[in-house]
Structures are given as structure tokens and as C-alpha cells.
Amino acid sequence: MFNQDIVKPENLVYKKTDVLTDKIMHYCPGCGHGTTHRIIAEVIEEMGIQDKAICIAPVGCSVLAYNYFEVDSLGAAHGRAPALATAIQRLNPDHHTFTYQGDGDLAAIGTAETIHACNRGENIVIIFINNGIYGMTGGQMAPTTLIGMQTATSPYGRTVELNGYPLQITELLAQLPGTYFVTRQSVHTSAAVRKAKKAVRQAFENQKNKKGTSFVEVVSNCNSGWKMTAPKANEWMVENMFVKYPIGDIKVDGEIVQK
């Protein structure tokens, strides 16, 4: 190792936050789930809300999220995280209940819960990992799968004729009066990670100020499902996913951002 002499507490620039446990995450190498967990945990630490944060874990690859966040957590039935979060946050209005959900969980089996929680303007934070595929179960097509994308259940590529259009659920949710902040981020570069973290911070600040639902989509990679190395998957994501799912704020302070 180079420059061992500068390894001193006063020179520390970055270390893993203690709001994440020391357990080794089960995610595949390079998967954006880990990075997204980290920025949420860092925001919780920076806001000093560790004893008030409540994580609602989904069904999907992040089903074990509660092993990694050093906060109170509950596991919801598939897709029902926003409904569970509704109850938890209403009963604990000074707490910070957040859901963490994949696209299969949030935009397929849980569409009704997602839409109604957002439409009621529940004071919750929803973190939505969109990797365009069902990662956990072996890479089946999701509502967010791109046209032409090959998955286990669309081996010749998704077609409109057979499978309909990729669902831009985030734009849809922004139309609902209950959503106060809706944004789409990514975590594939250090600049993107910093922006995504700011968005997560904004979401939790809105919740503190009881503004209604804050929704942060993270367009992410699924190296295993896409059958690519992590760096290659990130490139593919930029070239393909970002076209259908452009990065940026969609609704800020309850107003749609005009593009």
C-alpha cells in the first residue's frame, strides 16, 4: 500500500457509515442495490434520525435489506410495502418510514398499493430501484423492461405487440396530487451518487416537514439478469435505460418540473 503514513483519523475523507451493519451484503458484485443502501444510510446518519428511521423491505433481491440497515425494519408482503408504511408512519408520525422496492415489487404486483399511497399523499419516502428486470427470481421481464430487451420470459426481446409498453410509473405518480417530490437518479458514477444522495436527503427533509409522499427512483443495473460485467452493465444502462428513463427531477415542491 502507498502512503501508509497518512492513514490517520485526522486525514480521513471517507469510510462506510455505521448506519450500515458490517454484514457482507448478498448482492451480486457491482449491483446498485448496495450503493443505494449506502447513500440512504449516510443520509440517515447525517440527519441524526437513526432511532426514528423505519425501513420497510420488499420482496425481491433487497428482501434482506433489514440485515444491512442498522435501523428498525419490517418485511412487507410482495408489493405491499407502501401499505405497511402507511400504517407505520400514521402510528408514528414523528418517525421516518421509508420503503425500498424493486420494479417488480413496486410497479407490477404492488401497483395498486403504490398508486394509492402516493395518491393519498402518505408522509412516507419511497425508494424505487428500477433495473428493468426481476433480479431475484432469475431475470424475468418486468413492467419496466425495455422494448427489445431479452429476459428469461422475453427471450427474443420484449415487443409491444406481445407485452405492451415499458411502464414509466414514476412519471405517472408525479401526476398525482399526493406526491410532493418525484425524482429519478442513478448511482453509477461518483457524481451521480452525490446527486442521488442529495435527492434522498431532500425526500427525508420533506417527510420531516410533513409534505406528503417523496418518491426517489434509482435507475440501476442488474449485472446477473442482464448477463454483463458490472462496468459493462453501467454503460449499457446509460445507453439504453436512460433513454426511456431520463435522469432528473420530475416534480419538486409539489409542482411538475417543466422541461
Binding site: 502507498f2 486525514n11 480521513l12 475523507v13 471517507y14 461518483s190 460485467t229 458490472a230
Partner: protein, 72 residues
């Protein structure tokens, strides 16, 4: 004023995904020829050019990298 930085990589936690290698603006990092206990080619610093920018640590999904920086 030249900036001197260094990274401490917990190689047993590293999964050898390589996203830190791509993220480093100074091409400091590379995946080792050797593997760790889990069989992953872990990330390591190969040149003394680190500026302590923490770009690598920002993108590491597994929180493996600790970064230090000192002004010379």
C-alpha cells in the same frame, strides 16, 4: 500544492466488481491477479497517484474502501 491521498481496501469484503477501477480519475486501481477468500480478484492500488478524491469509495456498492487525504 500537491495532494497526497491513499485508499485502504478491505480486500476480504471486496467482490472484484471493478466499478471503482473505472471510477478512479487517476487510474490508481486495478483488480489483483490474486483472489481473496471468496475467490474474487480484489481491487488494489497499483500506482502512487491517489489524490484522495473518494470517487472509488462513492461508487463501491460494498463500502469496502476507506479514503485518506493529506496536503503536502
Amino acid at each position: 500544492m500537491a495532494v497526497k491521498g491513499t485508499v485502504v481496501i478491505d480486500k476480504e469484503r471486496c467482490k472484484g466488481c471493478g466499478v471503482c477501477v473505472v471510477a478512479c480519475p487517476k487510474s490508481v486501481l486495478a483488480l489483483a491477479k490474486n483472489v481473496n477468500g471468496k475467490g474474487y480478484n480484489y481491487s488494489e492500488a497499483i500506482i502512487d497517484e491517489c489524490i484522495g478524491c473518494a470517487s472509488c469509495a462513492m461508487v463501491c456498492p460494498d463500502g469496502v474502501i476507506t479514503v485518506y487525504k493529506e496536503k503536502k
